[in-house]
Symmetry: C2
Subunit: 198 residues, 2 copies
């Protein structure tokens, strides 16, 4: 059975929990709180020298970090990884978009408000502003197609749902994005969907 070193309140870690649940693949969750230094111990750094969760233990001693690489690894050969080359490219396009243009703003705004509880933080407004830029790009895509890679739900949707659905916890209001709202409802209605909490 695979083991997931993850933090329950992390969107990046939730991605792995959600896909494993939808795949019906049993897993053990090892709660690893990076806000308390659990990813900086010598033991953890031997598993992932970059000191981040999630980290997947595929088999004893074989570890895979990076949430979106874990999604690709687990989804290969399943309906959650597109079977067409162009759709695979689109899925990867949106997963790299998520890590470069979305997570550093939407997730970090949430980190500042939800974990640090610092509404006066000097960087909050700029993170929120750039988070809205990412959401506007997503809104354009979702106004044209039901999912990020086209007609079908796949791991790109999981990657972008993880922090988008809790954007409000970073003070980023989703009310102005109707296509994102409709997409989030479609994501939640997928077979095997599990919420981040509980």
């Amino acid at each position: 059975m695979v083991r997931v070193f993850g933090m329950a309140e992390s969107g990046n870690c939730y991605k792995v929990k959600l896909l494993l649940s939808q795949l019906g693949q049993p897993f053990e969750w090892i709660e690893t709180d990076n806000t308390k230094g659990a990813t900086r111990t010598d033991e953890f750094l031997r598993m992932n020298p970059n000191g981040k969760v999630p980290t997947l233990e595929i088999s004893p001693g074989v570890y895979l970090p990076e949430s979106n690489a874990i999604l690709c690894y687990l989804a290969e050969g399943t309906p959650y990884w597109p079977s067409q080359k162009m759709q695979r490219a689109r899925a990867l396009q949106w997963m790299f978009f998520e890590q470069y243009s979305h997570e550093p703003y939407v997730a970090v705004a949430r980190f500042i408000l939800f974990f640090l509880k610092q509404p006066q933080h000097a960087e909050l407004a700029e993170k929120q502003r750039r988070g809205h830029l990412a959401l506007a790009v997503m809104e354009q895509q979702l106004a044209q197609e039901p999912y990020f890679a086209g007609e079908n739900y796949c791991i790109a949707d999981i990657a972008l749902y993880a922090y988008t659905h809790v954007a409000g916890e970073g003070g980023i209001d989703l009310a102005g994005y109707p296509a994102i709202g409709a997409w989030m409802a479609r994501v939640k209605s997928q077979p095997g969907h599990v919420p981040m909490r509980g």
Copy 2:
């Protein structure tokens, strides 16, 4: 023939040029200078709503942005994309590492010094510090295996070479990373290698 909308001095764009050259695949390069607003025109935003280069035109009207997604798309079915599942996962792990933990520091330090020419910029020291953290993680990997996905050169090496080999232009000295130095020499010796400039 594919067309690459790219900026010659951008590492992200160089990745695409390098892979296409190694594949021997003809391409047209359309110089697109994002420091002069060329990625924010209505025409460009119709190709890539996120307003970034590189953007690959696969066929008329079909565009793929995100440098590392472009690498995956072009490399599929070639020796530059690992044939083993675990090596593919490793390649993706390092490509996501590159976009999240490396590029925002190593490339941005270079942007501040090389493009903006602002050695007194308030964020430069922190970008350099975090760039060194990324390089230390790479050094650990390259002290154990010759390439990022193991025994063979692949697109993960292209992704990480692009900004690492010009880290000095961001004031990030590579002298303390002998395994990275040896790896850069191996990358440069690959068949079909072309430099970023010229």
